[in-house]
Symmetry: C5
Subunit: 382 residues, 5 copies
Amino acid sequence: MNKLATLLLLLFLCHHGIVCNVNSAAMPQPSVDELWKSLLFNYSRLERPTFRGDPVTVEVSMYILDIPKVNIKTMSFEMDFYFRMRWHDDRLRCELFADLEYIDVPYKKEIWVPDLFFVNAQEVHNPNSNFLLRLYKDGRVLYSTRYVIRARSIMDFKNFPTDENMIRLDIESYAYTSDKMMIKWQSKQSLGLNSERITDFIIKNLTTRESVIHLSTGSYSRVYAQITLKRRGQLYIISAYLPLIVVVLMSWLSFWINPKLIILRLGLLVTLLLLAALCVLGFDTELPKLAYATSLSNWISLHFVFLSSALVEFMLIHMIWGRRSIQYLQEHEIEDKVEGETESTCQKFRNCLCGTSSRLDLASRVLFPGFYILFNIIYWVA
Amino acid sequence: MNKLATLLLLLFLCHHGIVCNVNSAAMPQPSVDELWKSLLFNYSRLERPTFRGDPVTVEVSMYILDIPKVNIKTMSFEMDFYFRMRWHDDRLRCELFADLEYIDVPYKKEIWVPDLFFVNAQEVHNPNSNFLLRLYKDGRVLYSTRYVIRARSIMDFKNFPTDENMIRLDIESYAYTSDKMMIKWQSKQSLGLNSERITDFIIKNLTTRESVIHLSTGSYSRVYAQITLKRRGQLYIISAYLPLIVVVLMSWLSFWINPKLIILRLGLLVTLLLLAALCVLGFDTELPKLAYATSLSNWISLHFVFLSSALVEFMLIHMIWGRRSIQYLQEHEIEDKVEGETESTCQKFRNCLCGTSSRLDLASRVLFPGFYILFNIIYWVA
Amino acid sequence: MNKLATLLLLLFLCHHGIVCNVNSAAMPQPSVDELWKSLLFNYSRLERPTFRGDPVTVEVSMYILDIPKVNIKTMSFEMDFYFRMRWHDDRLRCELFADLEYIDVPYKKEIWVPDLFFVNAQEVHNPNSNFLLRLYKDGRVLYSTRYVIRARSIMDFKNFPTDENMIRLDIESYAYTSDKMMIKWQSKQSLGLNSERITDFIIKNLTTRESVIHLSTGSYSRVYAQITLKRRGQLYIISAYLPLIVVVLMSWLSFWINPKLIILRLGLLVTLLLLAALCVLGFDTELPKLAYATSLSNWISLHFVFLSSALVEFMLIHMIWGRRSIQYLQEHEIEDKVEGETESTCQKFRNCLCGTSSRLDLASRVLFPGFYILFNIIYWVA
Amino acid sequence: MNKLATLLLLLFLCHHGIVCNVNSAAMPQPSVDELWKSLLFNYSRLERPTFRGDPVTVEVSMYILDIPKVNIKTMSFEMDFYFRMRWHDDRLRCELFADLEYIDVPYKKEIWVPDLFFVNAQEVHNPNSNFLLRLYKDGRVLYSTRYVIRARSIMDFKNFPTDENMIRLDIESYAYTSDKMMIKWQSKQSLGLNSERITDFIIKNLTTRESVIHLSTGSYSRVYAQITLKRRGQLYIISAYLPLIVVVLMSWLSFWINPKLIILRLGLLVTLLLLAALCVLGFDTELPKLAYATSLSNWISLHFVFLSSALVEFMLIHMIWGRRSIQYLQEHEIEDKVEGETESTCQKFRNCLCGTSSRLDLASRVLFPGFYILFNIIYWVA
Amino acid sequence: MNKLATLLLLLFLCHHGIVCNVNSAAMPQPSVDELWKSLLFNYSRLERPTFRGDPVTVEVSMYILDIPKVNIKTMSFEMDFYFRMRWHDDRLRCELFADLEYIDVPYKKEIWVPDLFFVNAQEVHNPNSNFLLRLYKDGRVLYSTRYVIRARSIMDFKNFPTDENMIRLDIESYAYTSDKMMIKWQSKQSLGLNSERITDFIIKNLTTRESVIHLSTGSYSRVYAQITLKRRGQLYIISAYLPLIVVVLMSWLSFWINPKLIILRLGLLVTLLLLAALCVLGFDTELPKLAYATSLSNWISLHFVFLSSALVEFMLIHMIWGRRSIQYLQEHEIEDKVEGETESTCQKFRNCLCGTSSRLDLASRVLFPGFYILFNIIYWVA
């Protein structure tokens, strides 16, 4: 009867893949599948490695492959990285396969794995669903996955086209409080980056930080990956700064044009103003809509001020002349009878011009470039 | 034969992981997996905790991590939050593990969990698929998940750039009527918010509400999370209000320009009108298309009215002069023969101007700023 | 030996959760899980309730929560609704639990459920994956789910900003022909709608319809949910109608301006034409691109016709004058020698003007508003 | 002992749902589930119906419900269709249920199903995940699913707004080479289409084609569904052709305007040019960006040529006059002293005008419409 | 009792589909399902084919069906391809089915399959979820899938509309280091491409490359698929180059226009400038925003320089004349009294013109085209 029982027992064990240690020792060379099954026998997936003991220490490291996009409108970034967790699980210690340093196991659902998550991530993908679960002889476990995420990070665009912002990824355990699990960066160099594919920014700094967060459900260990990015501003120099500078410089041509040639001078200024507006409209859709002025928006505003001032200056010449000529005309109305009105007004105009308005132009020829240089010094120094 | 039966029984129990209480007591220290399995033995997942009794009370609480977007075009918002449910399930009371306050279980499919849903949500995600299921010694259960949702909430944009809207998330049970399940906010403070990442709005108020909804399939308990957001209007002051103010102020320059300098005065007004139109076109794509006028659209319309009025005023001067001069010319046609037409007309023009039109300009210099200040007072007070 | 057999039998039954009726009667109070399992024992999921008999009658009802978007470009709409099916399955009749009206079961894969689908839906989601499956004592089954769908429905935009369109959702069985399953609306009121969140349309009508569709694989019962939506046209009145009306009214100012002031009159008309073009460009991207003219596009076209006509009228004055003066000059060439050409031409011009052109203006002052009023009456009545 | 063994055997068979033929015959009326299970007993899902024999013939048919979008920018189309496959699987022949023509089975994973795929599809959805698997008495199998796909098909836009393109869907087996599986269209009429919801195109032709494709992994049978679509060009006639025609016609007004009225004539032409540019800009974003000129882009280009020519003609008049007058002035410089320069120049100008320039205008009045009619005849005939 | 044991054993084996070799040999013709199950008996899925031995060699090949999009803004590309892996797994050697070259198996989860992934892919889809797993008699395995991916590849747009870029797909093993798995291209021709559907680019080159990558978790074998694409620049010639050339050529007309006709000459230049700006704005949204100037942006910039220069040249004529005439007027102020100011100034102007400004025009007529041809030679050669 014992024979039957043993047989049945064996069958059941076979059925569930449990190869008891006695049997496996008897076998000449157990396969990895059998080893894996023997490891899982009596393994309690609900218990973390150091159950009823100290918090488990999970060491993380990241290697950033790519930062495909930093969206300045939604203040979010996309990141493509390898994420690695290392911890120690004594229950998975397996001395049996002496010739192997470690085994790679493609099952993650059957053992305890830290439940880390990215607190500020809005979307998390693993494009090919690959992962690596490596069990070392001495019980160390390495779990690595590739993530393509989209996360939010508040940025400051006050110095917009030359801004330097820190994007941050927050990593935390979802269920295990800090007395059950501690997350640590593996080392100082555990945040790596492949800068090959990051063309829009200069990587200034990669820093790691660790802290503990207090929520209503308990205190949780949290680590931060911080990347400081300095925007390469050349794009904006080419497409925003340069055309506006050219337009402002061209607007000063008007000070050398005879104010009597109204159409010429007005035409020039209006054309430049519209070109500047079209130019701003052209790349404006790419820019963030913010509640505060950026360095670039200041630049644009001040160039519009310069352009408008040239227009106002021209208006002033004619406003002053207009008022004077009317006064003059009212005084000398009788004498005007003989000679043509146009001529006399024009003569007056010429006088006015040589007396007042052209002085305005002469002053502008010096003052406008002067203020512009001054403004530029202040802008580029500050 | 009994021996065989017992053995088989044991095998079957093992097979299904059922560790009967007698056996577990015999074991020195049962693992959490075994405890969990013993809890589920005889557990009826179809029955809610208080089956055949009072409604189950589910206490909810929310901690909002982020409101990444409030889309004013589709009247929807995105929200990233921790959602927690607390209830009591006596069947999960487990006195066995005396040294543990609670256990964390990563299986939610095997026990009864409230089937709450977000009534007005269009999309619901859980980026990392994390959740926390905590069983307390005394039968209390805590279930927490992180959601990234997109929900609709009707907003009122009548005061658009300074509007204050309440966004609301409706939470209800899908299958359990109010005599079977009651949803309650855990406490007054059970709606929390991390305002760190909300830059476009000021959080005015967080309120919670509870009610019962009547549908054709029964009455359901429903709770509401209400967040009152006040828009930070600075963006619109910088990009819409300021440029329009400047443009209107510049349009008044025209009242000082001699109306005879048609090209100058017209050029100024047309340029300003086109600049204003381009400026409005530039940020118009960001604004909601609504069936009613917003505070901002009123502002824009009225500035266009001011700009057009300056143009019309200029037209009027010339229309009046035109009619008068024609009358004059018809009367004095013979005398005109000798002197050049231009001169005489111009003289008339000058007279007309000093007599009528310039009076219009003189009036405009006072009336336009006056009405503008008046309009501004009304606009900003109301 | 019998004992062993019974034991084994019992074990197997336990294993598969089959609680035979004899046993369950013996037990004091069977749990719902056990009842459910006993119902499924011998249940044939492949057979519809009235297999080998009359067609099953599935009664549907819908409660529309929201219509977030009606996309006039792709002629599609989004809809968020509760969808309920009711049918009778005698095999699920369960008299055992006398104290319960019905039980809620969270498993739908194990029983027969109608395979209805939305024929014109392009995307179908169930945001929280909730559903309700309610088994009544007498065998009635209620299955309710929430769907967020995007479906296509051909609309007619001939009366565009005041159009009234019927959006239709077609519901059909995928596999069961009409001799196997009949779909019916539960009652006249089985199509409900929560109009709270529908701001762009007025709900005119909710109608239901039933029919049978013939395909190559058989005839299928189909039901339709039809919602007639009347667009709230205010948005278009504010952003399209009003500005164009203002622009056309302003264009008539030109008829009072002396045609000799070419720059003034031309400047006014050109500015108005460009403003109208910019204004149309501004909201044009929101409008459907259709192969036929809408009421709005007619309106826009006709306003451009009015604006262009004012320009053409002005050109005509100068073309007529131009031709006449040339004829005149050719006749009087010798006499012109003494007096300045400009003066004489101008005089002629004045004459021409008083003779011909101004007559055109005088006529236009009456005819343009006249035709405009006429056109408006026709447009708004038709 | 035999009794126990039989019992156990029975239990195991029950456990796996295998109802041996002997037993089922004994039962009065076997359920469809039992029939299904008996069919699957000994069914080898890995073997295609005619394993070790001739290729299986899979007959396909399609019924297109909708073509929601033909994206001319990405040269892709969306299609919503029922896809049906018919084949013969002798192993599924079931004579048992004599009263039933066929049974509908909602399990497709358990039997062999052809692994057809859409070669040029980029996205494949089945919105409600419905399918129909119908087993006929004689072993015929009908499998039908609804697909919403997005596929690419190279189109030719040389005749753009009146183009006629064939969109093609390629259907092939992924794993079975042509000596194992042949795909055929069921009949000539096996490609159907519901034209009710296709508003932008006229369906010219539906054709089917069969061929064999050679790849490095073997030769595969492939069938093609080809739909020839003729674009309804009315949209483009309304929004592109008509406004440009009007603009060109209006540009000819300038030939009747006295060239001395520079501002009037230039103003007209510039306004028309800008209006045409805005109009093209308005619908340009909807058009494909192609490496070759389309019929529409030719049309637009040529209208810009006509508009520019009118401008150049006007410039030429003044350039010729300018040169002549300068020559003239240099010759008669002394005589000019007395009379005003303007007058004399104008007289010269008048002469020049009557001599040369106006001749240009007179010619243009005939030549421009002439060439335009010619161009239109060529364009619309070719 | 042995009988029972044997029976039970048999049952268990049946239960798990394990047909021992002895039995299968006894059967006349085993089905493929049975063969497959017998192959999997004792198969260790965790061990790669050459466990404890040399690295497995995985030979890959790709056949690109389509490159639907090369996004120059995000520097990413979409690719639709068949991906094939070939390796040798002795454990799957099956001599039993002598009449079959190979069997196709639709299960990939049950055997060891290389865990290759696309390192730079952001999204990976398999539209129809098809794959092919072919087991050859001698143990060779062929695994083929279709992928639609979106991957990033850094491109250089310095020669933008005529640029030639290499897009690269990196393929690597996720878990197996190079001492465990080596990836190789099957042959030189193992990267194929169906160029039928690639219309925007000319395929210059398809190259393959193999290397080893060193990461902190070990060294990994990696292969590269490199496709060199040459953009077809015709689109840009039609929509950007040609209109700008026409505009610049037309701007030279102005040198033949009398500078006194300010409005004509200015009108022409301003119109051309605005048309060029609108034209650039029109296709600008399609272009990449880069931190460096592309060939196209250089072309555009230089055409704006040419257009602006023509405007500046015109301004210079009037600035020089303006200064001179003022000087002149101040000298001859008394003599001016008698004759009209306009005339005399005009005469001076004529003199100035014939003396200075027109010389500028005369020079420009030669210099502008000269420089333009020079610039074009440099641009097109370089």
